[in-house]
Symmetry: C2
Subunit: 299 residues, 2 copies
Protein backbone atom coordinates (compact mmCIF):
# COMPACT_ATOMS: atom_id res chain seq x y z
CA UNK A 1 0.00 0.00 0.00
CA UNK A 2 1.00 3.61 -0.53
CA UNK A 3 -0.68 5.12 2.55
CA UNK A 4 0.90 8.48 3.41
CA UNK A 5 2.74 8.79 0.08
CA UNK A 6 2.07 12.05 -1.76
CA UNK A 7 2.00 11.80 -5.54
CA UNK A 8 1.52 14.84 -7.78
CA UNK A 9 0.61 14.33 -11.43
CA UNK A 10 1.20 17.11 -13.93
CA UNK A 11 -0.62 16.77 -17.25
CA UNK A 12 -0.80 13.74 -19.46
CA UNK A 13 -3.27 11.73 -21.49
CA UNK A 14 -5.77 8.89 -21.06
CA UNK A 15 -3.04 6.73 -19.51
CA UNK A 16 -2.99 8.98 -16.45
CA UNK A 17 -6.59 8.05 -15.63
CA UNK A 18 -5.55 4.46 -15.09
CA UNK A 19 -2.54 5.60 -13.02
CA UNK A 20 -4.77 7.79 -10.82
CA UNK A 21 -7.20 4.94 -10.31
CA UNK A 22 -4.51 2.54 -9.24
CA UNK A 23 -2.78 5.06 -6.94
CA UNK A 24 -6.08 5.67 -5.16
CA UNK A 25 -6.69 1.95 -4.82
CA UNK A 26 -3.33 1.75 -3.09
CA UNK A 27 -4.31 4.61 -0.77
CA UNK A 28 -1.76 7.20 -1.99
CA UNK A 29 -2.53 10.92 -1.57
CA UNK A 30 -3.01 12.11 -5.12
CA UNK A 31 -2.80 15.71 -6.32
CA UNK A 32 -3.67 16.62 -9.91
CA UNK A 33 -2.17 19.60 -11.73
CA UNK A 34 -3.45 20.46 -15.20
CA UNK A 35 -6.60 18.34 -15.07
CA UNK A 36 -9.16 21.21 -15.10
CA UNK A 37 -11.31 19.61 -17.77
CA UNK A 38 -11.66 16.28 -16.04
CA UNK A 39 -15.41 16.12 -15.37
CA UNK A 40 -15.35 14.20 -12.13
CA UNK A 41 -12.40 13.58 -9.91
CA UNK A 42 -12.30 10.57 -7.63
CA UNK A 43 -12.87 10.88 -3.89
CA UNK A 44 -9.84 11.99 -1.92
CA UNK A 45 -8.02 13.45 -4.91
CA UNK A 46 -7.17 17.15 -4.84
CA UNK A 47 -6.76 19.44 -7.80
CA UNK A 48 -4.49 22.49 -7.77
CA UNK A 49 -2.55 25.00 -9.89
CA UNK A 50 1.09 24.48 -10.82
CA UNK A 51 2.94 26.47 -8.12
CA UNK A 52 6.15 25.75 -6.19
CA UNK A 53 4.11 25.53 -2.97
CA UNK A 54 1.92 22.80 -4.40
CA UNK A 55 4.96 20.56 -4.82
CA UNK A 56 6.54 21.05 -1.39
CA UNK A 57 5.25 17.77 -0.02
CA UNK A 58 5.34 15.65 -3.16
CA UNK A 59 7.19 12.39 -2.59
CA UNK A 60 6.76 11.74 -6.28
CA UNK A 61 6.05 13.96 -9.26
CA UNK A 62 4.69 12.09 -12.27
CA UNK A 63 5.02 13.69 -15.69
CA UNK A 64 3.55 12.34 -18.94
CA UNK A 65 5.26 10.06 -21.44
CA UNK A 66 7.47 12.75 -22.94
CA UNK A 67 8.00 14.67 -19.68
CA UNK A 68 8.65 18.24 -20.76
CA UNK A 69 9.77 19.72 -24.04
CA UNK A 70 13.06 21.62 -24.30
CA UNK A 71 11.51 24.65 -22.63
CA UNK A 72 9.66 22.92 -19.84
CA UNK A 73 6.21 22.69 -21.42
CA UNK A 74 4.18 19.73 -20.23
CA UNK A 75 1.44 18.34 -22.48
CA UNK A 76 -2.01 17.74 -21.00
CA UNK A 77 -5.15 16.72 -22.82
CA UNK A 78 -7.08 17.64 -19.66
CA UNK A 79 -6.53 21.41 -19.68
CA UNK A 80 -6.42 24.29 -22.13
CA UNK A 81 -4.01 26.17 -19.88
CA UNK A 82 -0.30 26.12 -20.57
CA UNK A 83 1.77 24.09 -18.14
CA UNK A 84 5.44 25.03 -17.79
CA UNK A 85 7.63 23.21 -15.33
CA UNK A 86 10.34 25.64 -14.13
CA UNK A 87 13.44 25.46 -11.96
CA UNK A 88 11.43 26.90 -9.08
CA UNK A 89 9.08 23.94 -9.17
CA UNK A 90 11.83 21.36 -9.10
CA UNK A 91 13.65 23.30 -6.37
CA UNK A 92 10.56 23.18 -4.17
CA UNK A 93 10.36 19.39 -4.12
CA UNK A 94 11.48 17.74 -0.88
CA UNK A 95 15.05 16.40 -0.96
CA UNK A 96 13.86 12.78 -1.12
CA UNK A 97 11.30 13.65 -3.83
CA UNK A 98 11.64 12.01 -7.21
CA UNK A 99 10.48 12.91 -10.68
CA UNK A 100 9.00 10.10 -12.80
CA UNK A 101 8.51 10.47 -16.53
CA UNK A 102 8.38 8.31 -19.63
CA UNK A 103 11.39 9.91 -21.32
CA UNK A 104 13.33 13.01 -20.19
CA UNK A 105 14.68 15.79 -22.36
CA UNK A 106 17.98 17.43 -21.34
CA UNK A 107 15.94 20.35 -19.91
CA UNK A 108 14.44 18.10 -17.25
CA UNK A 109 17.57 16.06 -16.66
CA UNK A 110 19.58 19.21 -15.96
CA UNK A 111 17.01 20.76 -13.61
CA UNK A 112 16.78 17.59 -11.57
CA UNK A 113 20.51 17.07 -11.42
CA UNK A 114 21.10 20.72 -10.42
CA UNK A 115 18.81 20.28 -7.41
CA UNK A 116 19.79 16.73 -6.52
CA UNK A 117 16.33 15.41 -7.32
CA UNK A 118 16.12 11.81 -8.49
CA UNK A 119 14.79 11.33 -12.02
CA UNK A 120 13.35 8.04 -13.25
CA UNK A 121 12.77 7.48 -16.95
CA UNK A 122 10.19 4.74 -16.86
CA UNK A 123 10.29 3.87 -20.57
CA UNK A 124 14.01 3.23 -20.25
CA UNK A 125 13.46 0.36 -17.88
CA UNK A 126 13.63 -3.08 -19.46
CA UNK A 127 10.48 -4.31 -17.75
CA UNK A 128 8.42 -1.29 -18.86
CA UNK A 129 9.84 -1.51 -22.39
CA UNK A 130 8.87 -5.18 -22.59
CA UNK A 131 5.35 -4.58 -21.29
CA UNK A 132 4.96 -1.62 -23.66
CA UNK A 133 6.13 -3.76 -26.58
CA UNK A 134 2.80 -5.60 -26.39
CA UNK A 135 0.55 -2.64 -27.32
CA UNK A 136 3.29 -1.52 -29.73
CA UNK A 137 3.16 -4.85 -31.56
CA UNK A 138 -0.64 -4.87 -31.63
CA UNK A 139 -0.64 -1.32 -32.98
CA UNK A 140 1.85 -2.34 -35.66
CA UNK A 141 -0.34 -5.31 -36.62
CA UNK A 142 -3.29 -2.94 -36.90
CA UNK A 143 -1.27 -0.67 -39.19
CA UNK A 144 -0.20 -3.65 -41.29
CA UNK A 145 -3.78 -4.91 -41.68
CA UNK A 146 -5.01 -1.41 -42.57
CA UNK A 147 -2.26 -0.58 -45.04
CA UNK A 148 -1.97 -3.72 -47.13
CA UNK A 149 -4.34 -5.61 -49.41
CA UNK A 150 -3.05 -9.00 -48.31
CA UNK A 151 -3.27 -10.93 -45.05
CA UNK A 152 -0.51 -11.19 -42.45
CA UNK A 153 -1.19 -14.93 -42.51
CA UNK A 154 0.88 -16.38 -45.33
CA UNK A 155 3.00 -13.24 -45.69
CA UNK A 156 6.78 -13.08 -45.58
CA UNK A 157 7.74 -10.73 -42.79
CA UNK A 158 11.05 -9.46 -41.49
CA UNK A 159 11.67 -8.03 -38.04
CA UNK A 160 14.91 -6.12 -37.62
CA UNK A 161 16.29 -6.30 -34.11
CA UNK A 162 15.49 -8.89 -31.46
CA UNK A 163 15.42 -6.61 -28.46
CA UNK A 164 12.52 -5.80 -26.21
CA UNK A 165 10.16 -4.82 -29.04
CA UNK A 166 11.54 -7.00 -31.84
CA UNK A 167 10.95 -10.27 -30.03
CA UNK A 168 7.34 -9.37 -29.22
CA UNK A 169 6.73 -8.23 -32.79
CA UNK A 170 8.16 -11.43 -34.25
CA UNK A 171 6.06 -13.61 -31.93
CA UNK A 172 2.88 -11.69 -32.75
CA UNK A 173 3.49 -12.17 -36.49
CA UNK A 174 4.26 -15.84 -36.00
CA UNK A 175 1.07 -16.20 -33.96
CA UNK A 176 -0.93 -14.99 -36.95
CA UNK A 177 0.72 -17.35 -39.42
CA UNK A 178 3.35 -15.17 -41.07
CA UNK A 179 6.72 -16.64 -42.04
CA UNK A 180 9.04 -14.53 -39.92
CA UNK A 181 12.69 -13.76 -40.58
CA UNK A 182 14.49 -11.93 -37.80
CA UNK A 183 17.54 -9.75 -38.44
CA UNK A 184 19.91 -9.84 -35.47
CA UNK A 185 23.33 -8.52 -34.62
CA UNK A 186 24.40 -10.93 -31.90
CA UNK A 187 25.00 -14.68 -32.10
CA UNK A 188 22.95 -15.35 -28.96
CA UNK A 189 19.99 -13.61 -30.60
CA UNK A 190 20.57 -15.68 -33.73
CA UNK A 191 20.42 -18.83 -31.61
CA UNK A 192 17.29 -17.75 -29.75
CA UNK A 193 15.52 -16.71 -32.94
CA UNK A 194 16.30 -20.12 -34.42
CA UNK A 195 15.10 -21.92 -31.29
CA UNK A 196 11.79 -20.01 -31.48
CA UNK A 197 11.12 -21.07 -35.03
CA UNK A 198 12.03 -17.80 -36.74
CA UNK A 199 14.47 -17.63 -39.63
CA UNK A 200 17.42 -15.66 -38.30
CA UNK A 201 19.99 -13.72 -40.32
CA UNK A 202 22.57 -11.07 -39.55
CA UNK A 203 21.46 -7.47 -40.16
CA UNK A 204 24.63 -6.81 -42.17
CA UNK A 205 23.32 -9.33 -44.73
CA UNK A 206 19.86 -7.71 -44.89
CA UNK A 207 20.16 -7.00 -48.62
CA UNK A 208 20.18 -10.77 -49.31
CA UNK A 209 16.87 -11.35 -47.52
CA UNK A 210 14.48 -8.64 -48.70
CA UNK A 211 13.65 -9.72 -52.25
CA UNK A 212 10.41 -11.47 -51.22
CA UNK A 213 9.46 -9.47 -48.14
CA UNK A 214 5.82 -8.38 -47.71
CA UNK A 215 6.08 -6.72 -44.29
CA UNK A 216 9.25 -5.20 -42.87
CA UNK A 217 9.26 -4.07 -39.23
CA UNK A 218 12.29 -2.20 -37.98
CA UNK A 219 13.09 -1.76 -34.30
CA UNK A 220 16.75 -0.71 -34.63
CA UNK A 221 17.25 3.03 -33.97
CA UNK A 222 19.98 3.58 -36.56
CA UNK A 223 19.71 3.78 -40.35
CA UNK A 224 19.43 0.12 -41.40
CA UNK A 225 16.71 0.27 -44.04
CA UNK A 226 18.88 2.28 -46.40
CA UNK A 227 18.27 3.32 -50.01
CA UNK A 228 20.31 0.27 -51.13
CA UNK A 229 17.97 -2.01 -49.17
CA UNK A 230 14.80 -0.25 -50.31
CA UNK A 231 15.93 -0.61 -53.93
CA UNK A 232 15.68 -4.40 -53.50
CA UNK A 233 12.30 -4.50 -51.76
CA UNK A 234 9.20 -5.49 -53.81
CA UNK A 235 6.75 -2.69 -54.54
CA UNK A 236 3.90 -4.35 -52.67
CA UNK A 237 5.87 -4.29 -49.40
CA UNK A 238 5.02 -2.21 -46.38
CA UNK A 239 7.71 -0.88 -44.06
CA UNK A 240 6.69 -0.08 -40.47
CA UNK A 241 9.40 1.58 -38.41
CA UNK A 242 9.00 1.12 -34.66
CA UNK A 243 12.35 2.62 -33.65
CA UNK A 244 12.25 5.96 -31.85
CA UNK A 245 12.22 9.06 -34.04
CA UNK A 246 13.60 9.50 -36.67
CA UNK A 247 13.46 5.71 -37.11
CA UNK A 248 15.92 3.58 -39.05
CA UNK A 249 14.44 3.92 -42.53
CA UNK A 250 15.35 6.16 -45.46
CA UNK A 251 11.77 7.45 -45.74
CA UNK A 252 12.67 9.92 -48.47
CA UNK A 253 13.95 7.18 -50.75
CA UNK A 254 11.04 4.87 -49.91
CA UNK A 255 8.63 7.59 -51.03
CA UNK A 256 10.65 8.17 -54.18
CA UNK A 257 10.43 4.46 -55.04
CA UNK A 258 6.71 4.41 -54.19
CA UNK A 259 7.10 1.99 -51.31
CA UNK A 260 4.86 2.69 -48.35
CA UNK A 261 6.93 3.32 -45.23
CA UNK A 262 5.34 4.40 -41.96
CA UNK A 263 7.04 5.71 -38.84
CA UNK A 264 4.89 4.40 -36.02
CA UNK A 265 4.04 6.98 -33.39
CA UNK A 266 3.94 6.13 -29.67
CA UNK A 267 1.53 3.26 -30.17
CA UNK A 268 0.84 2.14 -26.57
CA UNK A 269 -0.82 5.43 -25.61
CA UNK A 270 -2.83 5.40 -28.83
CA UNK A 271 -4.06 1.83 -29.22
CA UNK A 272 -4.27 0.78 -25.58
CA UNK A 273 -4.15 3.72 -23.15
CA UNK A 274 -5.71 1.65 -20.39
CA UNK A 275 -3.13 -1.13 -20.65
CA UNK A 276 -0.34 1.43 -21.10
CA UNK A 277 -1.56 3.33 -18.04
CA UNK A 278 -1.62 0.14 -16.02
CA UNK A 279 1.98 -0.59 -17.01
CA UNK A 280 3.04 2.84 -15.72
CA UNK A 281 0.90 2.52 -12.61
CA UNK A 282 2.24 -0.88 -11.63
CA UNK A 283 5.86 0.09 -12.09
CA UNK A 284 5.38 3.41 -10.31
CA UNK A 285 3.62 1.80 -7.34
CA UNK A 286 6.38 -0.73 -7.06
CA UNK A 287 9.10 1.93 -7.11
CA UNK A 288 7.24 4.15 -4.63
CA UNK A 289 6.87 1.28 -2.19
CA UNK A 290 10.54 0.41 -2.52
CA UNK A 291 11.52 4.05 -1.86
CA UNK A 292 9.18 4.37 1.10
CA UNK A 293 10.67 1.18 2.53
CA UNK A 294 14.18 2.56 2.18
CA UNK A 295 13.20 5.84 3.85
CA UNK A 296 11.72 3.91 6.79
CA UNK A 297 14.91 1.88 7.12
CA UNK A 298 17.09 5.02 6.97
CA UNK A 299 14.97 6.82 9.57
Amino acid sequence: MLTGIHVSLIGGDARQLEVIEQLIEMDASVQLIGFDNLQTIPNGVTRTKLTPEALEHADALLLPAVGTDDKGHVVSIFTSEELVLTEEHIASLPKHGKVYTGMAKPYLTELCSRHGIGLVELFDRDDVAIYNSIPTAEGALMMAIQNTDFTIHGSNSIVLGMGRTGLTMARALQGLGSTVKVGVRRPEHYARAWEMGFKPFYVKDLADFVSDVDLLFNTIPVLVVTAQIIAKIPHRSLIIDLASKPGGTDFRFAEKRGIKALLAPGLPGIVAPKTAGRIIAQTLSHLLMEDAGKRRNDA
Copy 2:
Protein backbone atom coordinates in the same frame (compact mmCIF):
# COMPACT_ATOMS: atom_id res chain seq x y z
CA MET B 1 -4.00 -24.34 -67.68
CA LEU B 2 -7.24 -22.78 -68.88
CA THR B 3 -6.35 -22.46 -72.56
CA GLY B 4 -9.50 -22.13 -74.65
CA ILE B 5 -11.78 -21.51 -71.66
CA HIS B 6 -13.90 -18.34 -71.96
CA VAL B 7 -14.55 -16.49 -68.73
CA SER B 8 -16.74 -13.39 -68.55
CA LEU B 9 -16.57 -11.18 -65.46
CA ILE B 10 -19.42 -8.79 -64.70
CA GLY B 11 -18.65 -6.06 -62.17
CA GLY B 12 -17.01 -6.42 -58.80
CA ASP B 13 -14.39 -4.80 -56.65
CA ALA B 14 -10.62 -4.90 -56.09
CA ARG B 15 -10.75 -8.67 -55.66
CA GLN B 16 -11.61 -9.07 -59.34
CA LEU B 17 -8.24 -7.58 -60.34
CA GLU B 18 -6.48 -10.49 -58.71
CA VAL B 19 -8.87 -12.95 -60.34
CA ILE B 20 -8.26 -11.40 -63.77
CA GLU B 21 -4.51 -11.57 -63.27
CA GLN B 22 -4.59 -15.22 -62.32
CA LEU B 23 -6.97 -16.19 -65.15
CA ILE B 24 -4.64 -14.57 -67.65
CA GLU B 25 -1.63 -16.33 -66.17
CA MET B 26 -3.48 -19.58 -66.74
CA ASP B 27 -4.18 -18.58 -70.36
CA ALA B 28 -7.98 -18.27 -70.11
CA SER B 29 -9.83 -15.96 -72.56
CA VAL B 30 -11.08 -13.17 -70.34
CA GLN B 31 -13.91 -10.77 -71.15
CA LEU B 32 -14.72 -7.86 -68.84
CA ILE B 33 -18.19 -6.32 -68.54
CA GLY B 34 -18.63 -3.21 -66.38
CA PHE B 35 -14.96 -2.32 -66.11
CA ASP B 36 -15.06 0.95 -68.12
CA ASN B 37 -13.07 2.90 -65.54
CA LEU B 38 -10.21 0.46 -65.34
CA GLN B 39 -7.29 2.54 -66.65
CA THR B 40 -5.31 -0.21 -68.32
CA ILE B 41 -6.49 -3.65 -69.18
CA PRO B 42 -4.03 -6.51 -69.51
CA ASN B 43 -2.99 -7.87 -72.89
CA GLY B 44 -5.43 -10.31 -74.43
CA VAL B 45 -8.36 -9.20 -72.30
CA THR B 46 -11.43 -7.83 -74.08
CA ARG B 47 -13.92 -5.34 -72.73
CA THR B 48 -17.56 -5.25 -73.81
CA LYS B 49 -21.09 -4.13 -72.91
CA LEU B 50 -23.54 -6.35 -71.09
CA THR B 51 -25.56 -7.91 -73.94
CA PRO B 52 -26.92 -11.42 -74.48
CA GLU B 53 -24.60 -11.83 -77.48
CA ALA B 54 -21.56 -11.11 -75.35
CA LEU B 55 -22.30 -14.13 -73.19
CA GLU B 56 -22.97 -16.67 -75.92
CA HIS B 57 -19.56 -18.28 -75.64
CA ALA B 58 -18.92 -17.87 -71.93
CA ASP B 59 -17.96 -21.16 -70.32
CA ALA B 60 -18.05 -19.32 -67.02
CA LEU B 61 -19.71 -16.14 -65.87
CA LEU B 62 -18.17 -14.68 -62.70
CA LEU B 63 -20.26 -12.29 -60.63
CA PRO B 64 -19.03 -10.36 -57.57
CA ALA B 65 -19.30 -11.46 -53.93
CA VAL B 66 -23.01 -10.68 -53.60
CA GLY B 67 -23.91 -11.70 -57.16
CA THR B 68 -27.01 -9.65 -57.96
CA ASP B 69 -29.54 -7.93 -55.77
CA ASP B 70 -33.21 -8.97 -55.80
CA LYS B 71 -33.75 -7.16 -59.09
CA GLY B 72 -30.64 -8.29 -60.94
CA HIS B 73 -28.40 -5.28 -60.25
CA VAL B 74 -24.70 -6.13 -60.17
CA VAL B 75 -22.35 -3.90 -58.19
CA SER B 76 -19.16 -2.69 -59.86
CA ILE B 77 -16.65 -0.18 -58.53
CA PHE B 78 -15.19 -0.02 -62.04
CA THR B 79 -18.10 1.64 -63.84
CA SER B 80 -20.64 4.36 -63.28
CA GLU B 81 -23.11 2.61 -65.57
CA GLU B 82 -25.87 0.47 -64.17
CA LEU B 83 -25.43 -3.27 -64.67
CA VAL B 84 -28.58 -5.38 -64.64
CA LEU B 85 -28.38 -9.10 -65.27
CA THR B 86 -31.64 -10.22 -66.91
CA GLU B 87 -33.22 -13.50 -67.93
CA GLU B 88 -32.10 -12.84 -71.51
CA HIS B 89 -28.49 -12.82 -70.43
CA ILE B 90 -28.71 -16.09 -68.53
CA ALA B 91 -30.67 -17.66 -71.39
CA SER B 92 -27.91 -16.80 -73.84
CA LEU B 93 -25.21 -18.73 -71.95
CA PRO B 94 -24.17 -22.04 -73.56
CA LYS B 95 -25.83 -25.10 -71.99
CA HIS B 96 -22.59 -26.17 -70.28
CA GLY B 97 -21.98 -22.58 -69.03
CA LYS B 98 -21.90 -21.96 -65.31
CA VAL B 99 -22.46 -18.90 -63.17
CA TYR B 100 -20.03 -18.36 -60.29
CA THR B 101 -20.76 -15.92 -57.51
CA GLY B 102 -19.96 -15.42 -53.84
CA MET B 103 -23.53 -15.69 -52.61
CA ALA B 104 -26.72 -15.90 -54.71
CA LYS B 105 -30.02 -14.19 -54.05
CA PRO B 106 -33.24 -16.05 -55.02
CA TYR B 107 -33.41 -13.83 -58.16
CA LEU B 108 -30.24 -15.39 -59.52
CA THR B 109 -30.98 -18.89 -58.27
CA GLU B 110 -34.33 -18.90 -60.04
CA LEU B 111 -33.01 -17.56 -63.34
CA CYS B 112 -30.27 -20.17 -63.47
CA SER B 113 -32.53 -23.02 -62.51
CA ARG B 114 -35.17 -21.95 -65.06
CA HIS B 115 -32.56 -22.21 -67.84
CA GLY B 116 -30.69 -25.23 -66.55
CA ILE B 117 -27.52 -23.21 -65.95
CA GLY B 118 -25.25 -24.40 -63.17
CA LEU B 119 -24.80 -21.97 -60.30
CA VAL B 120 -21.85 -22.15 -57.89
CA GLU B 121 -21.91 -20.17 -54.67
CA LEU B 122 -18.22 -19.97 -53.90
CA PHE B 123 -18.55 -18.59 -50.35
CA ASP B 124 -20.69 -21.59 -49.47
CA ARG B 125 -17.85 -24.00 -50.09
CA ASP B 126 -16.03 -25.15 -46.99
CA ASP B 127 -12.60 -24.57 -48.45
CA VAL B 128 -13.40 -21.00 -49.55
CA ALA B 129 -15.04 -20.26 -46.20
CA ILE B 130 -11.95 -21.49 -44.34
CA TYR B 131 -9.57 -19.48 -46.52
CA ASN B 132 -11.80 -16.41 -46.15
CA SER B 133 -11.85 -16.86 -42.38
CA ILE B 134 -8.21 -15.71 -42.33
CA PRO B 135 -8.81 -12.13 -43.58
CA THR B 136 -12.03 -12.13 -41.54
CA ALA B 137 -10.13 -12.91 -38.35
CA GLU B 138 -7.44 -10.32 -39.13
CA GLY B 139 -10.11 -7.72 -39.82
CA ALA B 140 -11.79 -8.58 -36.52
CA LEU B 141 -8.47 -8.22 -34.70
CA MET B 142 -8.03 -4.82 -36.33
CA MET B 143 -11.50 -3.79 -35.14
CA ALA B 144 -10.72 -5.04 -31.63
CA ILE B 145 -7.45 -3.10 -31.46
CA GLN B 146 -9.12 0.04 -32.79
CA ASN B 147 -12.17 -0.09 -30.55
CA THR B 148 -10.71 -0.90 -27.14
CA ASP B 149 -8.28 0.84 -24.81
CA PHE B 150 -6.67 -2.42 -23.70
CA THR B 151 -4.51 -4.97 -25.48
CA ILE B 152 -5.70 -8.29 -26.89
CA HIS B 153 -2.73 -9.83 -25.08
CA GLY B 154 -3.85 -10.55 -21.54
CA SER B 155 -7.54 -10.10 -22.37
CA ASN B 156 -10.30 -12.61 -21.71
CA SER B 157 -11.94 -13.42 -25.01
CA ILE B 158 -14.83 -15.61 -26.00
CA VAL B 159 -15.46 -17.01 -29.46
CA LEU B 160 -18.94 -18.38 -30.06
CA GLY B 161 -19.03 -21.20 -32.59
CA MET B 162 -16.13 -23.39 -33.63
CA GLY B 163 -16.95 -23.66 -37.31
CA ARG B 164 -14.92 -22.42 -40.23
CA THR B 165 -14.54 -18.86 -38.90
CA GLY B 166 -14.69 -19.54 -35.15
CA LEU B 167 -11.69 -21.83 -35.13
CA THR B 168 -9.54 -19.34 -37.06
CA MET B 169 -10.66 -16.49 -34.82
CA ALA B 170 -9.86 -18.43 -31.67
CA ARG B 171 -6.40 -19.37 -32.94
CA ALA B 172 -5.60 -15.79 -33.94
CA LEU B 173 -6.56 -14.54 -30.46
CA GLN B 174 -4.53 -17.31 -28.82
CA GLY B 175 -1.57 -16.38 -31.03
CA LEU B 176 -1.64 -12.86 -29.61
CA GLY B 177 -1.77 -13.97 -25.99
CA SER B 178 -5.46 -13.73 -25.17
CA THR B 179 -7.09 -16.28 -22.87
CA VAL B 180 -9.67 -17.80 -25.18
CA LYS B 181 -12.91 -19.49 -24.21
CA VAL B 182 -14.79 -21.13 -27.05
CA GLY B 183 -18.54 -21.67 -26.95
CA VAL B 184 -19.49 -24.83 -28.84
CA ARG B 185 -22.63 -26.84 -29.46
CA ARG B 186 -21.18 -30.26 -30.26
CA PRO B 187 -19.14 -32.57 -28.04
CA GLU B 188 -16.52 -33.16 -30.76
CA HIS B 189 -15.96 -29.40 -30.95
CA TYR B 190 -15.68 -29.31 -27.16
CA ALA B 191 -12.99 -31.99 -27.34
CA ARG B 192 -11.07 -30.25 -30.15
CA ALA B 193 -11.23 -26.88 -28.42
CA TRP B 194 -9.84 -28.47 -25.27
CA GLU B 195 -7.08 -30.23 -27.22
CA MET B 196 -6.05 -26.90 -28.77
CA GLY B 197 -5.65 -25.19 -25.42
CA PHE B 198 -8.88 -23.19 -25.48
CA LYS B 199 -11.36 -23.25 -22.63
CA PRO B 200 -14.49 -24.85 -24.09
CA PHE B 201 -18.05 -24.50 -22.82
CA TYR B 202 -21.49 -25.19 -24.25
CA VAL B 203 -23.23 -22.21 -25.81
CA LYS B 204 -26.38 -22.95 -23.78
CA ASP B 205 -24.32 -22.13 -20.65
CA LEU B 206 -23.00 -18.86 -22.11
CA ALA B 207 -24.51 -16.77 -19.30
CA ASP B 208 -22.16 -18.46 -16.81
CA PHE B 209 -19.03 -17.47 -18.73
CA VAL B 210 -19.40 -13.79 -19.67
CA SER B 211 -18.89 -12.02 -16.36
CA ASP B 212 -15.19 -11.30 -17.03
CA VAL B 213 -15.17 -11.14 -20.84
CA ASP B 214 -13.24 -8.35 -22.56
CA LEU B 215 -13.77 -9.37 -26.18
CA LEU B 216 -16.71 -11.40 -27.44
CA PHE B 217 -16.69 -12.67 -31.03
CA ASN B 218 -19.81 -14.32 -32.34
CA THR B 219 -19.84 -16.51 -35.45
CA ILE B 220 -23.20 -18.22 -34.89
CA PRO B 221 -25.93 -16.89 -37.25
CA VAL B 222 -28.80 -17.09 -34.77
CA LEU B 223 -29.58 -14.88 -31.77
CA VAL B 224 -27.17 -16.14 -29.09
CA VAL B 225 -25.93 -12.86 -27.57
CA THR B 226 -29.34 -12.04 -26.16
CA ALA B 227 -30.41 -9.24 -23.83
CA GLN B 228 -30.07 -11.67 -20.90
CA ILE B 229 -26.45 -12.34 -21.87
CA ILE B 230 -25.63 -8.68 -22.53
CA ALA B 231 -26.99 -7.78 -19.09
CA LYS B 232 -24.17 -9.87 -17.56
CA ILE B 233 -21.32 -8.56 -19.72
CA PRO B 234 -18.93 -5.95 -18.20
CA HIS B 235 -19.25 -2.43 -19.57
CA ARG B 236 -15.69 -2.36 -20.91
CA SER B 237 -16.38 -5.31 -23.22
CA LEU B 238 -16.51 -5.17 -26.98
CA ILE B 239 -18.79 -7.45 -28.99
CA ILE B 240 -17.82 -8.17 -32.60
CA ASP B 241 -20.38 -10.13 -34.55
CA LEU B 242 -18.96 -12.03 -37.54
CA ALA B 243 -22.10 -13.98 -38.39
CA SER B 244 -23.87 -13.03 -41.62
CA LYS B 245 -26.42 -10.23 -41.39
CA PRO B 246 -28.28 -9.58 -39.13
CA GLY B 247 -25.74 -11.31 -36.84
CA GLY B 248 -26.48 -13.09 -33.59
CA THR B 249 -26.44 -10.15 -31.20
CA ASP B 250 -29.23 -8.05 -29.73
CA PHE B 251 -27.63 -4.83 -30.92
CA ARG B 252 -30.53 -2.71 -29.72
CA PHE B 253 -30.10 -3.89 -26.15
CA ALA B 254 -26.31 -3.60 -26.31
CA GLU B 255 -26.69 0.04 -27.29
CA LYS B 256 -29.20 0.61 -24.52
CA ARG B 257 -26.75 -0.80 -21.98
CA GLY B 258 -23.89 1.24 -23.47
CA ILE B 259 -21.90 -1.80 -24.56
CA LYS B 260 -20.14 -1.42 -27.88
CA ALA B 261 -21.32 -4.07 -30.33
CA LEU B 262 -20.20 -4.09 -33.96
CA LEU B 263 -21.57 -6.11 -36.84
CA ALA B 264 -18.55 -6.80 -38.99
CA PRO B 265 -19.08 -6.18 -42.68
CA GLY B 266 -17.62 -8.47 -45.36
CA LEU B 267 -14.10 -8.15 -44.01
CA PRO B 268 -12.05 -10.14 -46.60
CA GLY B 269 -12.86 -7.75 -49.44
CA ILE B 270 -12.12 -4.77 -47.19
CA VAL B 271 -8.95 -5.66 -45.31
CA ALA B 272 -7.29 -7.94 -47.84
CA PRO B 273 -8.81 -7.69 -51.33
CA LYS B 274 -5.67 -9.16 -52.90
CA THR B 275 -5.72 -12.25 -50.69
CA ALA B 276 -9.51 -12.52 -51.02
CA GLY B 277 -9.21 -12.24 -54.80
CA ARG B 278 -6.59 -14.96 -54.85
CA ILE B 279 -8.88 -17.26 -52.86
CA ILE B 280 -11.63 -16.78 -55.45
CA ALA B 281 -9.18 -17.12 -58.34
CA GLN B 282 -7.66 -20.35 -57.11
CA THR B 283 -10.97 -22.01 -56.42
CA LEU B 284 -12.44 -20.81 -59.70
CA SER B 285 -9.45 -22.02 -61.73
CA HIS B 286 -9.63 -25.38 -60.04
CA LEU B 287 -13.36 -25.73 -60.76
CA LEU B 288 -12.96 -24.57 -64.38
CA MET B 289 -10.23 -27.12 -65.00
CA GLU B 290 -12.34 -29.87 -63.47
CA ASP B 291 -15.32 -28.92 -65.66
CA ALA B 292 -13.19 -28.71 -68.80
CA GLY B 293 -11.80 -32.15 -68.01
CA LYS B 294 -15.32 -33.58 -67.64
CA ARG B 295 -16.43 -32.02 -70.95
CA ARG B 296 -13.44 -33.59 -72.71
CA ASN B 297 -14.28 -37.00 -71.22
CA ASP B 298 -17.95 -36.68 -72.20
CA ALA B 299 -17.06 -35.65 -75.74
